[in-house]
């Protein structure tokens, strides 16, 4: 809200500087977003002077040498000037030696190109009035010579742009801010003088005019707890007086006419919105406060037709709605140039009702803004009387009645009991009781009772009376803030952080994310942060349509951020693309973050880590490295799974089913969110998808996701297992199988047969594939897998004979049972 300093001074005799007032408003709890000064600043040694003569500077074409009379401020001076308009006869502002202009520009007597100059004649920008420096500021109206600047120019104003927090609707007004500043500067608050006090003289010429407003009915009292209306006749619409216009302009409003301006003025003064109708334009001379009928329409003052619904409150005449209550008037009933009789509405509308209607219609106003935050019903009539005073003052006329006042005005009564001790305990430092008492009183929080508490050392207990406009104060803790505000929250004494030990550990998710990050950064990957909200099309590429539907927001803000991400990969591809298109080589990226995966018709929020490994494209190197491949992706995913405690080796690997961005036959999946609580996907990204994304080359990727609640399990402590110190016996074995047979199956079969072959006499330590071959020498569709077997005993060195015997048995068994062709 814009607050004018001149206006504030009507209510509180502020003599503090603008800086001090800004600081006061700030530490009272309202952010000052801007301070604008209009008019002339009170600069010393800047006075009115008249140019007597002008002559060319002997040494400079563009300069003039003038004689200037500054009257009582120093007589005639010789001044060198560069402006085009320093003509004799002009009255201008002269900065004399000793003046300090904005920007700390100090004026001294000086020589300019050999010609002495006893000051400077000023352009508007030089004295801080705007940015115009095209010429001297010429003073109209021949002000007196030697007059100080701020007397010569129209008085200025300072306007603070103040952000009012939602808990303080009382400060949506100049009086409210003035009340706060009065408390801060310990000055009295002066309320405007009221003349009209609700007494209507019906015997005055013209008498009562019941015909102008026959009835006022409130049919929706739940939305309108108080409605008042006064009839004023014989007014003359015209422009407002200058002082009123100046104030409205200063705070950013456009003056319209005296009646409308008074309405706005009183709202900005008291916070109470008002509305004036032309009494003659009210059909049937009646006012009905009711809910609109569905489909009813009104054209609001901004010229737009609005369709109303049954939840919206309107002020209607006998025929139709004339105002959307508390929000905006209609075109048809407002005050116009020919209005002579008016009805002045001053009402309280329920904030929820106004908020809902305002939002529904997408229509807000200064009035609705205030009603939404809450207007004090107990001061409404005072605002009406104030407006009547100003209307009579600026537009003439007479209050004739009838006057209506409908609704209950429950007397306001609230008291809070708070002790000095309570406040001190919350603050953690001592403020003397006298200071607390003074703070309450300064804020109009009257102490009605003061008692000693049971322990005198704990200070007094106060019963504090809360005024009706401070509905935000309800509990003792609320008064702690009031005390601290006035004491100054910048005066909280420093202290050392107290940190008595607590038994608590970091959430496991933090630990695991840290491990993942360390691992991938250690493998030269760059951590990225991408957005969680993704476009529908992308989400449907990576998960089924049914799952995508579950991920949709009810109210996306922009179309391409409509769904929760089911994977991190597309974000990383976007980052690759961005770098590629900017000519920055990027090949290894990763992200840790939440993804949202559908399982059995439910969405599960999962902690995830994903990486992409791109073939270097367009970058050349003097020494080439092999491009990333499937098994690199697999290696990384397994390491990430292990870091999260997932037992990858126990989970069967399968193809990735359903919609996905992975390349068939070149990717694999493991895990299950329903079972072990984690999933992994890795391999080659779909080539067509990658190309469609505008990327070149093959991209391998991997993602591991786990339900966060599964991470919280305590890890079991590992136990040491003994190992043999005797030498190992090695044998190699190659088998020929169908191309489609997975190596892991063959490995398992060999390991099983090997264990059977050695029995209890010694151990099969490992069976590892070391060669995989297809091609010449083998039949079409067959492949050869070679395994290295390690045998070892815990008790002795194995002999060739016993190992050979077991190896032979193993080969026989494989051929016989598994049907493998063992290569000799």
């Amino acid at each position: 809200m814009k607050i004018s300093l001149n206006w504030l001074k009507d209510y509180v005799a502020l003599d503090a500087s603008v800086e001090e007032i800004t600081r006061a408003i700030t530490f009272l709890g309202f952010e000052v977003e801007g301070v604008a000064t209009t008019g002339a600043p009170p600069l010393e040694h800047v006075v009115v002077g008249e140019i007597l003569t002008r002559a060319r500077h002997p040494n400079a074409d563009k300069l003039s040498v003038c004689t200037v009379d500054v009257g009582p401020a120093g007589g005639v001076k010789t001044i060198v000037c560069g402006a085009h308009n320093c003509d004799a006869g002009n009255r201008v502002l002269v900065a004399l030696p000793g003046a300090v202009l904005p920007g700390n520009f100090q004026i001294k007597e000086s020589k300019i190109r050999g010609q002495s100059s006893a000051g400077m004649m000023c352009s508007p920008d030089e004295i801080g009035m705007g940015t115009d420096h095209s010429g001297l500021l010429l003073l109209p109206g021949r002000p007196e010579l030697g007059l100080p600047i701020h007397q010569a120019l129209p008085p200025g104003d300072t306007v603070f742009d103040v952000e009012i927090t939602p808990n303080r609707p009382d400060c949506q007004s100049h009086l409210g801010i003035a009340r706060e500043l009065a408390a801060w500067f310990k000055l009295p608050l002066l309320y405007p003088q009221e003349k009209f006090r609700g007494v209507i003289d019906e015997s005055a010429p013209g008498g009562a005019r019941p015909d102008l407003l026959r009835s006022v009915r409130v049919e929706a009292p739940e939305d309108c707890p108080l409605y008042t209306a006064h009839v004023i006749t014989g007014i003359k619409i015209g422009p407002s007086p200058q002082w009123l216009q100046d104030r409205l302009v200063a705070v950013g409003l456009r003056p319209i006419n005296n009646v409308v301006d008074v309405g706005n003025y009183v709202m900005l003064e008291t916070g109470q919105p008002l509305h004036a109708f032309d009494a003659r334009r009210l059909e049937g001379n009646e006012i009905v406060v009711r809910r609109a009928v569905d489909g009813e329409t009104i054209t609001t003052l901004d010229g737009k037709p609005r369709t109303l619904s049954h939840r919206m409150l309107v002020i209607a005449d006998a025929k139709a709605p004339v105002v959307i209550a508390g929000i905006m008037g209609g075109e048809n009933s407002g005050v116009g140039p020919d209005t002579t009789d008016l009805v002045l509405e001053c009402a309280i509308f329920k904030r929820q009702s106004i908020r809902a209607t305002s939002r529904k219609l997408g229509l807000s106003s200064d009035s609705s803004y205030r009603f939404e935050r809450g207007v004090d019903p107990h001061t409404a009539l005072e605002a009406a009387y104030r407006a009547i005073d100003l209307i009579l003052e600026t537009a003439g006329g007479r209050v004739t009645g009838p006057a209506y006042r409908i609704g209950s005005d429950v007397p306001w009564q609230r008291e809070i009991v708070v002790t000095h001790d309570y406040i001190t305990e919350r603050l953690g430092f001592d403020i003397p009781a006298a200071d607390m008492r003074a703070a309450f009183e300064a804020l109009d929080l009257t102490i009605t009772r003061e008692e000693e508490t049971v322990h005198p050392a704990r200070g007094p207990a106060w019963t504090v009376n809360i005024p009706s406009w401070r509905d935000d104060l309800d509990r003792p803790i609320d008064l702690v803030e009031e005390v601290l505000r006035l004491y100054g929250s910048d005066r909280i004494p420093p202290a050392v952080v107290q940190s008595p030990g607590l038994e608590a550990d970091d959430d496991p998710i933090v630990l695991f994310e840290r491990r993942w990050r360390d691992y991938l950064v250690g493998h030269d990957c760059h951590e990225c942060v991408t957005t969680t909200l993704r476009p529908a099309k992308e989400v449907m590429t990576w998960s089924s349509h049914a799952a995508a539907a579950e991920l949709a927001l009810a109210n996306p803000f922009v179309e391409d951020q409509s769904h929760l991400r089911p994977t991190l990969i597309p974000g990383l591809l976007e980052a690759l693309k961005l770098n590629q298109s900017r000519g920055v080589a990027a090949d290894r990226l990763f992200e840790t973050g939440r993804i949202f995966v559908e399982r059995n018709g439910q969405i599960l929020e999962c902690a995830a880590v994903a990486f992409v490994l791109a073939e270097p494209v367009g970058t050349r190197s003097w020494l080439s490295r092999p491009a990333p491949d499937f098994y690199q992706a697999k290696h990384h995913v397994m390491a990430l799974a292990a870091a999260a405690g997932a037992e990858f080796s126990r989970s069967p690997l399968g193809p990735i089913s359903g919609a996905s961005g992975w390349q068939e036959n070149h990717s694999a999946a493991a895990g299950d969110l329903a079972g072990p609580g984690w999933i992994a996907r890795f391999g080659l990204l779909n080539l067509a998808l990658v190309r469609a994304a505008g990327l070149e080359g093959r991209i391998h990727a991997g993602i591991f996701a786990i339900r966060p609640e599964r991470l919280s399990r305590e890890a079991t402590r590992r136990r040491y297992a003994e190992f043999s110190l005797f030498p190992a016996a090695l044998r190699d074995l190659a088998v020929v199988v169908d191309r489609s047979v997975p190596a892991a199956d063959v490995q398992k079969a060999i390991a099983k047969a090997a264990r059977a072959a050695v029995g209890n006499s010694f151990a099969v330590e490992s069976v590892k594939v070391f060669d995989c071959y297809e091609g010449s020498g083998l039949p079409e569709g067959r492949k050869s897998l070679a395994f290295s077997l390690v045998f070892r005993s815990a008790e002795r060195t194995l002999t060739d004979d016993e190992v050979n015997a077991a190896f032979q048995k193993l080969q026989d068994e494989l051929t016989r049972v598994a049907g493998y062709q063992v290569r000799k």
Binding site: F429, V521, A575
Partner: protein, 347 residues
Amino acid sequence: MQDQLSALLAKAAAELPAVKTRPEFEAAKARYVGPHGELTALMKQLGTVPKEQRPAVGRLINEAKGTLQSHLDTALARIGEAELAAQLGPAVDATLPSPDSGPGTIHPLTQVREEMCRILRKVGFSIADGPEVETEFYCFDALNTPSDHPARDEKDTFYFPVSARFGNVSKKVPEERYLLRTHTSSVQIRTMLKGPPPIRIVSPGRVYRRDTTDATHSANFHQLECLYVDRKVTVRDLKALLDYIFVALLGKDTKTRFRPHYFGYTEPSFEVDLSAKHLPKVRKEWIEIGGCGMVDPAVFDAVGYDSEVWSGYAFGMGLERLAMLLYGIDDIRYFYQNDLRFLRQFG
């Protein structure tokens, strides 16, 4: 015999330096000292030498054997050296760049978050985490945000359809809606509902606002919040924490100041300003860095803590904003674009 030995040694001296490989060497060695070697044959002849000459001949043979062995040793050493030399290849040019990309980098947001957590860890805060998809209760109701509060409006908060089902995000009441959390304060509620005080947590995480993306706004961004609940926690304690955090982060001359403000979940509430002289690209004396206050009794009521017994403070700030201030970054969008020229600057 002597002539034979001399001839043998001469032959070995001529032949062995020409041996190039280990197999050649083994063959040569066998020719001289193997079971059928020439020296072995001569040694076998010792038996035929007259008895009185045997010591002298024996000495000759031993001398010859020693000499031969030293020829062999020299040859073997030479071959060994040649083998190592062959492993080396030509000398490297150490000034050529490594073809490997890297090193990997940690995102600046992560770095700032980790640094803040480390600072807070030192004074006893543990890191708490919670879901990004939340419900109205945890995000608003429990935080004293009435149902018609503007922050809850569909204009400002992302909601999910009533039919949405999130399997691992619990609702407090069945009829409430799921939403994307607008602050990490929901983690505070979940933590307080999980156990009794005292608690001291920091909750960093991703949050969402229905907002236009521009240089200073993003639909998702990151916050970090602290909560401390104990007996007799005071405003002064809160100020001490903020002073500590920013001195630890920016050096001992750093000042913070509290300006009164309003938040529904704290009373009294403050905005926190930071003395800005350490910060790049800031031309103001003070710069706003976050919000804080004493936990409102209504919040304690919502989680079943007795507000007569327990008091606490909460502090929250935006991580992007902090990172922007610390590093002098002037556009929030850089954080989500992941241009490597940006990421590499922070290492």
